[in-house]
Structure formats: C-alpha cells, structure tokens
Symmetry: C2
Subunit: 144 residues, 2 copies
Amino acid sequence: MRIKDEYSILKEHVKEKGLRITPQREVVLDAFLGTERHVDVESLYILVKKRDASISFATVYRTLKLLCECELAKELKFEGKITRYEHKYNHKHHDHLVCAQCGKIVEFHNDKIEEIQDKVARENNFKVLNHHLEINGICSSCRN
Amino acid sequence: MRIKDEYSILKEHVKEKGLRITPQREVVLDAFLGTERHVDVESLYILVKKRDASISFATVYRTLKLLCECELAKELKFEGKITRYEHKYNHKHHDHLVCAQCGKIVEFHNDKIEEIQDKVARENNFKVLNHHLEINGICSSCRN
DNA sequence: GTATCATTGAAATTGAAATTCAATAACGAT
DNA sequence: ATCGTTATTGAATTTCAATTTCAATGATAC
C-alpha cells in the first residue's frame, strides 16, 4: 500500500461523508499545504483569495473543518490567542513553546513528559483522549 | 507579618490602583470564596444574584478581573470550554485532568513534569512565564 | 458642602466562529 | 445529454462569550 498524499486523503474523507471535492476546497487545501505552519484563518483566507478572490470566509472555515476531520490539519488554541491550524499529516505529536511577545512558536517533543502524563491519567482512572501542553515565555530574540 | 486574608488582599490591590472596595465587590468576592472550585462566570453570577439580585453581569466580570490581578483567582481556559475561575490564594500550582464527558476536573501536580518543562524551555532559550497542561479524557464513572 | 472621580447596571459592542438561505453546481441514473 | 436529487457556495446574519460605553449614582478628599 503506497503512501496516500494529502489530496487523496481529503478525497477519501469527503467521499465517506457523501460529500465532494470542489475547486474551492482544492484551493483551500493547496493554500494550507503551501503555508508555513500554525496559520490562522484570517491569514489563510488572504492566501486563498490570492488564488481565487471569489472564495468566501465561510468556505475556508468549512474546509478547515474537513481537513481537521481527516487529520490533515490540527486545530491549535493557544491561551488568549485566536485559533491556528498546523499540518498534521506525517507529523508526529508535539507540544509548543510560544513567545508571549513576538508570537514565535517552537515545537518540541518529550517522551518522558508523555509518559508521566499517561501515568498520572492512569492513577486517576482517566482514559486519555488527548492533551495540550503549552509553555509561554519570552524567546531569546525578544530578550535582547 | 501575619497572613493576609483574601479580603485584605483585594482591599490592598484596589487601593494600589486608586480604586475602592464596594458592597458589590464584597458580594462577588464572598460568592467566589464560597463556591467549589472551577466556577464559570454564569454560575458565579447566579450565586451573586442570590445575595444581591441587583448586581449585574458586568460587575461580576469586572470583579473577577480584579481578583485575578491580585492573584486571588486564576482564569482557566480549557479547550473548547468557556472560561472558568479557580481559587489561587494559598493554592499551589497544579495542572488539570478534564473529563470530556461529564466535565469533571481533577487537579494534579508533578514535579518531574515541571522540571522537564523548564529544561525544554532552557534548551530553546525561552524564559518561562507560565505553562498550561491539560489532559482530556474520560473519567472512570463515565466509562461505566 | 462641594468638586472630583470611581462605580454601577443596562444596553450596546466587539470579535471569533458558526450558521442560514436562496442560488448554483455536480453527480448518478436513465 | 437530461433530469431529479443533493451537496456547495458566498453573502449576510447569528451566536456566544466577553468587554465596553454611558449616563446616573455614590463615595471620598479637601
């Protein structure tokens, strides 16, 4: 079985839901895949507009929802910030360091933290669905 | 120096800001201190109303803001949930387990996690301001 | 007592996000 | 290709939490 690309994943997902791939949805997908990570809806909307000015905010929202459903995208809600979306396909789980001043986002992963989280959940008889760890601070550039 | 009680802390804080303690603010403080933890604004408003029906939503919001400023309260923004407030005075830092089904909130603290977080931040040249760790899952009652 | 300034409640506003709706476009069956 | 069905679209509206405005009121310092 070959590795499915993002387009096929979305196609399959919408098919399963009895929906369709449309030119608009393709544009939103392309724009999303073409961005750097952690894009917000507003910025993505602007990028989408560059490719097709007739596409609405609503369609961007709706398509992002579809992308999240099929795990091409992941919604990120940092404290006090607006919702962002990052690429999820072919990306391992990770947490984030966020600079409170410039907004810079650094991804990190730590097995030990994951492990302890699972342990804590187990001790409290919780079945883990997901977790959110966000460290807010000031990055080195902003400290100079 | 004797331990200040919550009332004195608020009093001092508003004084510093050139503001005043008012009957309404006292009622909101009392209601907040009298609740269980993790109260949302709506619920607190209802509790406040029981003591003084003339107090408005705006005053509850404004007073909660004051309580957060002087660290009597802490704002909690769990993913996809409305803002909640917990008692902060005389309470150690902790993280939360949240049941996705019944909303139950369990507090926990783990030194090792804190330690690793600091290490990760240091490695990335971030000066930590705060962090937010939230584990979402299903509690034991909801699994039965 | 008076001038000053914080406080209040009601209502309006904000801002992000989601939804409604009539018009349109795509699909499957024939 | 044509038809009927059903998803999709963009514009506008709505939702919802949260905040702010504003005129009236109340407290404080002098």
